[in-house]
Amino acid sequence: MKTRLDRTGLVLFAFYLVIYAVFVLIAAWWPEVMDATPLEGINVAILYGFGLIVAAFVLALFYGTLATPAGEVTDEEGDE
């Protein structure tokens, strides 16, 4: 049995993997999309890049809330 935390981790990982992969694929095959400036004169390359950094931290914090003492208790059943 995997723990609930393990499963949540894998789901969050899959989500981040998708947004990271989309970024890499756009940069490699459609770099002109990165040149567009949809917001405040800032281009997609920078917005998406900052977005990936912020997303990593936000997902990490979300995952961290599961690590509260209450969260730990609910995870115990599947834990080692």
Partner: protein
Amino acid sequence: MIYEASPLAIVVFVVFVGITLGLSFYLGGRAKTSQGYFAAHGEIPWFVNGVAFAGDYLSAASFLGICGMIAFHGYDGFLYSIGFLGGWIVALFVVAEPIKRLGKFTFADALDAQFNSPGIRLAAGISTLAVSIFYLIPQMVGAGVLIRPLLGIEEHWIGVVMVGVTVIAIVVTAGMVSTTYVQFLKGGLLVIFSAILTVFILQRGLSVADGGNDGHAFRTLGPMTAEQFDRGDLPGDAGLTIIPPTGVWVDQPFIRTRDEATDREVVWSIERENESQQVTLREAQTLTVTADQITLVNGEVKGNKPGEPQLHPIGWLSKLPAGKTETGPLGLVSFLRTLHGSEVVLWPSIKLVADDGATTTVFYQKRSPGSQVLSPGQHPQFAGIRSGKLSDKLNFVSLMLALFCGTASLPHILIRYYSVKDATAARRSTIVGIGTIGFFYVLTLYMGLGAMTSGAMDVTDSNMAAPLLAKSISALLFAAISAIAFTTVLGTVSGLILASSGAVAHDLVSGFAGIDLTDGQKVRVAKQASAVVGVIAIVLGILFKDMNVGYLVGWAFSVAASANLPALVTPLVWRGVTKEGIIAAVVVGMVSSLGWILLSADTFQKVYGIDPGQALTPFSQPGIVTIPLGFVVLVLVSLATRGGRSFPRRGCE
């Protein structure tokens, strides 16, 4: 450029290193057992460990390499920041829990938790050593680069030896406790001072210039018609005679002129407008090493003192939006927006080699729209993404994959999970690490672009961009940033040496060879191994001094991800893994990624100095092939050797 020692820099530097060593000796008394030496008794508070993650991870490559790459090529350097940070998601969500649950001192512990196989110990130990030593090379090279301007010394090897000896002293005296606190101190200071530097950059704003901060104004001739240029009729500047191209100068996009008054030779790059057919000449800079090993700058013997011939510092804007000449203080968004609408002078270079072995490197101005500089595809390594060639695109994807997968496979990062008390603390410290590192990586974009427009950069050395940016703002800031950068190298190197010594003592001697060591003996073996690995690192740092730091780090990430990640991740999702599968995956991943790198076009060109066209691999970055290969080998070998055995999934006993 002249690197003069500044007394302030030396004082700050000595204080930093003194505190680091003092801390090390003080904490050394606490690490008498192997549990203390390798894992700091598992007693490091999670917040300290989290910032120490940042200290371990933000190596010379992150700080010097990324800032330099952004300063010279724009956005492409930031791609490394994005990839390096993305890797932490793998570390947190996939690797942290099982590593902490199953291991004790080294990552081989976690791999071997359910098999108890000397073969796994051997493979994982060797892979730890291989990755650590690969990762050590750029750190040591970086140390040599840093120490020269800081202490005003000419020799690269002195810096390498200083770092090596200091680090051996740190690791041999105290182990994980002291390296952790050194990392905490350094990681915290690096982020704080980077933030201060960013504030100064934004306060300074952007301005238009025609040269760097040494006061030399670079000249432009033209635009002129193509006919006028062909006649040799240079506009607005009498007294310049065109030197007819001979030798290496034939068929190059440059012309040379001689100033009749001063007899000085100047090299100009030739810019041709496609539509109007007009020609503009822009002053370039040259660095020549003659066959007799004499160094010439712009045709004159290079000097060592102020006023003598030196390459001029670079980094300025040729245009601001709406015809402005300066902006005044800017905000985080307006800085990027203004730069996007500006025109930046970049300095690519071409190396010309004469028949007698003399080399001339021409550094020439390339005016680039800010919108281009802030988009991917400007650096030679990334230019392929705009070329339409599939192999170039795959090379890019492969690098981004290696950066993403490499972090969670680096031995010195993995061992940090053992210095906190439990899985919760491991998780929390990773979150602190991601926050600290992510914040720093956002700052790298501002620091890199700030350096790009600082007028202070050394055209020959992109690794110096961040310290020189600081120097252009204040001497104190320069001293602090240089000292922090130096401790950055110290910290990362001590982490790597500790990981290697753990691999030798715990995995190879004790685990594989089966030699029963007492606790004290294990620590003693590890300390001896530290000294040996330290000496190897010093020697390699001297041998590889001309290699690009970022490039070498790319190697280490590719090898780490290919060798270690499949073995770490597969057992989490598949019950059928066997010990033979794990050993095969580590060995095949390590050998295939190393082999690919050694046979790639980049290595042919940069290491062997032979025609990259003869390379045996279709592109240079191995990750996209060798990481999946590791997974495939693990599954196939496990299926072949399973023989009806069924293994319980790890962590559920």
